[in-house]
Homo-oligomer: 136 residues x 2
Amino acid sequence: MTSTERSATPPRKTRQRAEIRSAVEALDGFATSQDIHDRMRHDGSAVGLATVYRTLAAMATAGELDAIRTPDGQVAYRTCSPGHHHHLVCRTCGRTEEITLPGLEAMVRTIASDHGFGELDHELEFFGICGSCSRP
Amino acid sequence: MTSTERSATPPRKTRQRAEIRSAVEALDGFATSQDIHDRMRHDGSAVGLATVYRTLAAMATAGELDAIRTPDGQVAYRTCSPGHHHHLVCRTCGRTEEITLPGLEAMVRTIASDHGFGELDHELEFFGICGSCSRP
DNA sequence: TTCTAAATGAGAATGATTCCCATGACGTCC
DNA sequence: GGACGTCATGGGAATCATTCTCATTTAGAA
């Protein structure tokens, strides 16, 4: 009842959902629901905070956005290319690069099954300092 | 002023700190500060919740414990062997296996430097369902 | 247009974590 | 062993992200 769920009813098209979508697409890096809500408000768009939370979470579940958890525990979203990949996020400016780690998935699946584990899930994101931020 | 900090003053030995340490060492898998506080209270040990939070965080910073963030955002701690490694955590029972991913670190460092990123840090933990929990 | 279920929004509620600060207890110097 | 300066403690308030509640609005089907 979690991932086997087929999109029973497609989400309705609302003004709010469209505005949230374009706000997220205008981002460079990851942003939290609050960040996006602030930005939208700043840009004159009036959408409730709860709606931003709900919509972003739904979009992430639907695979339209990537969600990561920042080191301090907040959830951040970002549009990204399809296919499995990870992120290299700058701790200072938030700039994000998508990276792929060929072979990692298979390696992990093997190790996990050696330990009897199944239904694996993982979140692997790297946080560092990008080139522009490390130059004094 | 974060990692360059030398242990200026060694922490004092207190009853609370000792009790917290043994409570953590008695664990099988990861547990949150609240879990540990509950367990201690159940075992007749009276230590303030704030103290448990402070002490576990300090122990993790000192490298005496491993801290991970669970999928729902809480911080969990566990004693573990020295050296860099990752964890395979059962979503159902919390059982934890330590795993190493030889080559991953080097691979990531290479990719990161290709992108101009430095001072890398990462948290890579796997959550799955262990053998005993997946058998009906 | 009409109707119904889904979506929205404002604020309350929740829950983990941290802060505040008066009190208590290590460790040190005598 | 005793006095003292500090760091540690604890309990409750405060914070902060996130979720819930529920009355109201609205998309989309009939």
